[in-house]
Amino acid sequence: MLFGERWKAIFRGGGSPATPPLPHSSRYASARETRSIRAAPESSSNVRRSPGLEQFFHMVRDTAGLWMLDLSAASQSNVSFVTNLGHRLYTVDLVRTLDETYPAESFFEAQGNPRLAQQVVDQSLNFPAHQFDGALVWDCLQYMAPALLETVVDRLYEILRPNAYLLAFFSAEERAVTVPRYLYRIADGRTLLLVPQEHRALSQHFTSRHLERLFGRFQQIKFFLARDSLREVLVKR
């Protein structure tokens, strides 16, 4: 009975709120297990003002017929918002591709495999060079180990046109091992609706220096840090 209650509490997300830091070598698998059993603590959507999104759409709103890439699960609000601006949208759920490609028990270790990394790129980002005028990457990149991350960012660089913009989110919490994952729904040009999903393990902590190195090939990088410890990054190709 008590055992059942405990599991109910875990499934409701009522486990201990602070996840203790784990040794680097074992943290990936343990965190991955955590991802699969713990629900996000919030049950309703959060509204968030997004200066990064505002600037992103400020750059693309005056020209119609642009190609936008959305790397989250398809949603009515994002599709409607982008297409109402007169743009065309390509949507692909990159995190889902990661989950389908890499086994849960060695999620981050397997990302070092170059053949699988190429498979992810071929499945999700197989576009001609300079196809897109903007990319909404959301928080996908923070769930990738360095080897895969580099391959994906290189591919994003290839498929974006010069002067195109890319919007990505990274957790700014220095000690976080797992973070709640959200689906980002565009409410309007400056507001996002955050729909809570599961908790996921971070591949690493991303400092400003890390991000500058990661997007080193791009022209410009701009950071927006908000109270909720989500660092918004707007990058110009």
Binding site: A74, Q76, V79, T83, R88, Y90, V92, R96
Partner: protein
């Protein structure tokens, strides 16, 4: 064992024309109690039975290889491979068991199952929860439910301005009331 009731058997796949339309008023309960009369001949589905109304149906045990052209609403709950499916002026529904590997063109498309192919709807595409669509979409309107999987591009077509039909012309009234025309055969 001997008196096996027919109402326990699964109804065989049928075309829509043989499906009885659900009547607004149910028959009296005494009729249900009669031996040998099936309790319900409509298939028990998790999705709305109105999908069947007026539609041709490709049942879930049917596999079609090749091109489909239809001039009525069509529900595909089976498998279609290759070619194209065209239902230009009508509604096409891919049921929850439907698996389509083909390009689709229709007025309205509702996806509950799996589609691999490019999809073009002159009016609307509706991708329901648990549906999987991989391909490029071209449509005037789109609805995507949360939980649906979609991978591909979305191109929203602007609604085409319908060619204006000239207003019906009524013959102008005669300027001056004259004598009525003589009926044929009448004496002058």
């Amino acid at each position: 064992m001997w008196n096996r009731r027919k109402d326990n058997e699964d109804p065989a796949p049928r075309t829509s024309s043989s499906y009885p339309r659900p009547s607004p008023t149910p028959p009296p309960s005494s009729e249900y109690a009669k031996e040998g009369i099936p309790m319900s001949t409509t298939p028990s589905r998790a999705y709305e039975p109105e999908m069947y109304r007026g539609s041709a149906v490709i049942g879930k045990s049917v596999v079609v290889k090749g091109q489909i052209y239809t001039r009525e609403d069509l529900l595909i709950d089976g498998e279609v491979e290759g070619g194209t499916i065209e239902s230009q002026e009508h509604k096409l529904t891919i049921g929850p068991n439907g698996r389509v590997h083909a390009n689709i063109k229709a007025r309205e498309i509702v996806v509950l199952g799996t589609v691999n192919g490019n999809v073009e709807a002159s009016d609307k595409i509706d991708i329901r929860k648990d549906a999987r669509l991989t391909g490029d979409i071209k449509t005037a309107r789109i609805v995507i439910e949360d939980g649906a999987y979609f991978k591909g591009s979305i191109d929203i077509m602007k609604a085409e301005a319908k060619p204006q039909t000239p207003p019906l012309r009524t013959p102008p009234p005669p300027a001056e009331p004259g004598p009525p025309p003589a009926a044929p055969g009448s004496p002058k």
